[in-house]
């Protein structure tokens, strides 16, 4: 391989008419494509010199067959010059900065020097339109300049003043413009940043049009045998037709008006041929009314050549379906429907070592009927690259399975089905971080959905309300090795975002493990085994006590079975209230977790211990025992917690929000007192007695006081409800353990929904001096400005419902705005950072070797391998040695 070369410079230029004629293999003069026999017209748009698309014919330029001939350009000689829409802004600029008479730049050499300095090549600066004053006199020939008007898409005009001082607009034809551009001297162009060798400005006005090869605008044959031409061909037909008519009219000496109209029509067709979405120009349409897809439309936008075909494209060996949960799968597995596993293949080379196994696979054929059946194969590829489809057939003679199995030998390749243990890439859009694509191991299953352990939902941000995910099958050994080593689930348990586990228990895992490990309970052998049956446990530990010859294990012992036997940890659970004086082992909420030698001595396991984003135990296991043990632990803890939650049962219903009669009385009392208090404060304000807070008006002070009083009232109702609802209530369990929801949600369900706000203030908008016609003008009371006294359980009254909808909409708008903004921000970040890498010397560099950061992260720490950002987990190490809190 030749050594890589450095690109010194890239020139961007225009095609000159000379170059266009030079690269052309044929002058095209006929608008027709094919004759009645379906043969291309000579010098027509499908001329055989431009390349071939029909099989059987040979290219008249390179004499190659269809598929081998790359295609060749032709050209059309335009009867009159037309402007190229892509360059109208350049033309406008040049017309405005050069003399209409002599074509020179409207600046004296002194002025040029003042603006861009003496040596252009040193600075690379160039002149802009702003550097030249409008309508001045040419410093070279003294000609008075005229204002140039430009009207989209391609009309230019000069504004002159006639004898009576009236403004008159003189249209400039493309021929006039071309003549003016021709006059600009090369030297002046250099000052404008244009290299005249590769881009003379008059080349922006076309006199000859290249005709692209037929290979880039092939015609297709419809089912009814009719030919359907490409949009570009349609457009070229239009151009040639008008060009012809123009010539005929010109030769016949048609009146000026008709000539002008035809010229404009020619301009229109050439413009829409280049870009069919220009402002101020009706798009050219197909007979069906669909706008034509012309040159610019092929490149632009999401489905254009760049974003649609080059930086992203459709791929083979991929599949997509709905996802659903299965907590009995390992987090490193993904369940694949049998139908998909039978369609997706992996190519396996036949060697002397695997030939017998592959023979068996070939004999199994292309239709695996049951997930327990061994996998088959769909294709065999012979050493000469010929693909043979494996077919079963009714009898062994009909099919070719036995024949292929006998015939195959080392050198063949068999495309076998997916089977358990294969490495596949699994992805959910939007792919915002590296954990959005992870390598899983296949588990072929019944059903029609992809199955995954709910513990891997957080990195994908997946749920099961209809989400779909994609699957890709790496096809080579290298691809599989790379996917496994870099992208596998276990390698991605720790997030580089915060240096902690992003995979871990969610929802019921947390509720379940909380209910299992909270306080102290005893289970007999049957119950204990039924909870641990899905975990990888070899033997039960010693029971805690034996009563009447029956052994009992504590709940904490059951959990300890899945811990590594040498684990030592001390931490506060999610349910910890951060008391001023921590009672440690005697915590009345059992929130002080202490694990000594793999035994949970006290404390409750909840979100803090095993949850995604927290996962203290998961994190410690990774640092101490590695990823494989962590996978094992997460698998065990999710299975154990699901069994545990099923042991007690876990439901939530409308009557879980019921309170006692006296509670409702207290809540009513609290709300009445608060309303009363608000009324009293309004009275003080209206009497002018309110003492304003520093830096606030009296009105602002009143508003703040009202918000405070009502906020406190809602919290008080929450407290009343909370006193009644204990850990026997599922919502409380979920809130305390961190599984889902908060005590605030519970307050709003059972107690009082509280104040609705827009931008942090009470609702003030609506009618004049009031929010709704249900209230008196000037009313400042709680109900009139969005305070919802009711709970979600008791139901909202109509005005409350309306205020609630106002407050709720603010949240929706915020999220909608945020996602679109952060999405674009993300795109720009990725574009800026995607090719940076950390070099062996620790520097962050671009592909060109330029240094971005002298030391990665300034401390050379990989955040994924850090402990929540810290390079060393000192607390963990000390805890592990002392087996005590630090």
């Amino acid at each position: 391989m030749p050594s890589p070369k450095r690109i010194g410079k890239i020139d961007f230029g225009l095609l000159s008419p000379k170059e266009i004629r030079q690269m052309s293999v044929r002058k095209i003069i006929w608008a027709d494509t094919y004759d009645d026999d379906g043969f291309p017209y000579p010098q027509g748009l499908m001329d055989l010199h431009l390349g071939v698309i029909d099989p059987g014919l040979r290219c008249k330029t390179c004499s190659q067959k269809s598929g081998e001939c790359p295609g060749h350009f032709g050209h059309i000689e335009l009867a009159k010059p037309v402007i190229h829409v892509g360059y109208t802004r350049l033309i406008r600029k040049l017309l405005r900065v050069t003399c209409r008479e002599c074509g020179r730049l409207l600046l004296s050499s002194d002025e040029i020097e003042k603006i861009i300095g003496t040596d252009i090549s040193a600075t690379g600066d160039s002149l802009t339109e702003k550097d030249i004053k409008k309508e001045r006199i040419c410093p070279h020939c003294g000609e008075q300049q005229l204002k140039i008007n430009f009207e989209k898409p391609t009309t230019f005009a000069e504004i002159a003043t006639d004898e009576r001082g009236k403004k008159v607009e003189n249209k400039l034809t493309p021929a006039d413009i071309r003549a003016r551009l021709e006059k600009i001297p090369d030297e002046d162009l250099r000052h404008l940043g244009i290299d005249p060798v590769v881009a003379r400005p008059e080349w922006t006005v076309l006199t000859v049009l290249p005709v692209p090869p037929v290979t880039m605008r092939p015609s297709i044959i419809l089912e009814n045998g009719q030919r359907s031409e490409d949009d570009l061909t349609h457009k070229l037909v239009d151009i040639i037709r008008i060009n012809q008519r123009f010539k005929e009219n010109q030769d016949a000496g048609a009146p000026q008006l008709i000539i002008e109209d035809l010229w404009e029509l020619l301009q229109y067709h050439v413009t829409t041929y280049h870009d069919n979405e220009v402002a101020g120009c009706p798009p050219a349409r197909h007979r069906s009314g669909r706008p034509l897809k012309t040159l610019s439309q092929r490149l632009k936008g999401k489905d254009g050549r760049f974003r649609g075909s080059l930086s992203g494209k459709r791929v083979n060996f991929s599949s997509r379906t709905v996802i659903s949960p299965n907590p009995n799968l390992s987090i490193i597995e993904v369940g694949i429907p049998l139908r998909i596993a039978n369609e997706m293949t992996i190519p396996i080379r036949v060697t002397q070592f695997n030939i017998e196994e592959l023979r068996e696979i070939v004999r199994n054929g292309p239709d695996r009927e049951d997930v327990r059946d061994p996998c088959g194969a769909n294709y065999a590829i012979r050493p000469d690259k010929r693909r043979v489809r494996l077919t079963k057939g009714a009898t062994s003679e009909d099919g070719n399975l036995e024949f292929i199995a006998e015939q195959m030998e080392p050198g063949w390749t068999i495309e076998r089905h997916l089977r358990d243990g294969d490495i596949v890439l699994f992805n959910r859009q939007p792919s915002l971080h590296r954990m959005s694509i992870m390598a899983h191991r296949v588990k072929v299953m019944d059903g029609k959905t992809f199955r995954l352990n709910p513990a891997v939902c957080p990195p994908y941000n997946a749920d099961f309300d209809g989400d779909e995910m994609n699957l890709h099958i790496p096809q080579t050994e290298e691809a599989r090795a790379e996917a496994f080593l870099l992208a596998s689930v276990q390698e991605n348990i720790l997030s580089p975002r915060f240096g902690g586990p992003i995979i871990g228990g969610i929802h019921d895992h947390i509720s379940g493990i909380f209910m299992l490990t909270h306080t102290r309970r005893w289970f007999n052998k049957g119950d204990a085994i039924s909870m641990l049956q899905n975990c990888d446990i070899k033997r039960m530990g010693e029971p805690d006590k034996i009563e009447d010859d029956v052994p009992y294990w504590t709940n904490k012992q059951i959990f300890s079975h899945i811990l590594p036997p040498t684990l030592n940890m001390v931490f506060q659970a999610s349910s910890c209230e951060n008391c001023d004086q921590c009672l440690r082992e005697n915590c009345d909420r059992d929130a002080y977790v202490r694990i000594v030698d793999g035994e949970l001595l006290c404390g409750t396991i909840d979100k803090k211990a095993i949850g995604a984003f927290d996962g203290a135990i998961v994190h410690r296991i990774i640092r101490q025992y590695g990823y494989a043990r962590a996978v094992q632990f997460i698998d065990d803890v999710t299975r154990l917690s699901i069994r545990a939650i099923m042991y007690d049962g876990f439901t939530f219903a409308i009557d879980d929000e019921d309170l006692s009669k006296s509670d409702y009385g207290q809540i009513r009392e609290v709300l009445e007192r608060a309303t009363h208090d608000v009324g009293r404060r309004i009275q003080i304000y209206e009497d002018g007695q309110l003492e304003p807070m520093p830096g606030r008006t009296e009105e602002e002070t009143l508003e703040m006081q009202i918000m405070q009083v009502l906020g406190k009232a809602r919290d008080n109702t929450g407290e009343i409800a909370g006193r009644h609802l204990g850990l026997s209530n599922s919502a409380v369990v979920m809130a305390v353990s961190g599984a889902r929801g908060s005590m605030l949600n519970l307050t709003q369900m059972a107690g009082c929904v509280g104040q609705q706000a827009v931008r942090g203030e009470r609702i003030m908008r609506g009618y004049e001096d009031r929010t709704l016609p249900h209230f008196k003008k000037g009313n400042r009371g709680a109900e009139g400005h969005g305070f919802v006294k009711n709970s979600y359980k008791s139901g909202l009254n109509p005005t409350e419902f309306f205020f609630h909808a106002i407050g709720g909409r603010e949240g929706l708008v915020d999220t909608a705005v945020r996602t679109s903004q952060s999405g674009y921000l993300q795109r720009r970040m990725i574009n800026a950072l995607q090719d940076l890498k950390v070099a062996y010397d620790g520097t962050v560099r671009t592909t060109g070797g330029r240094i971005i950061q002298f030391n990665y992260g300034e401390d050379s720490t990989d955040p994924m391998k850090s402990s929540f950002g810290q390079p060393v987990d000192v607390k963990g190490i000390v805890e592990n040695i002392l087996k005590e809190a630090v």
Partner: protein, 86 residues
Amino acid sequence: MALIAQQLNVLKHEMVPEHSIMTDEEVQALFSRYEISAEHLPKIYHDDPAVIATNARISDVIKIVRKSRTAGRAESYRLVVKRPKK
């Protein structure tokens, strides 16, 4: 009023990290340490207030010592270049 007349030295501001011009020897040592030439360095414009305050010229290399949230102290080097006309 008298206070305003006094020129502000940006380098004395607590938010501005330490900037200093490197000697030729230091620059050569830097280049050989990272196996780079001047064009691989991050850039800083000649009219940057901190560059003006250090009296650095175009093609000088400036050493910048910052407080770092991760490392405590971090060194960086920038090549002084002319700000292109826009």
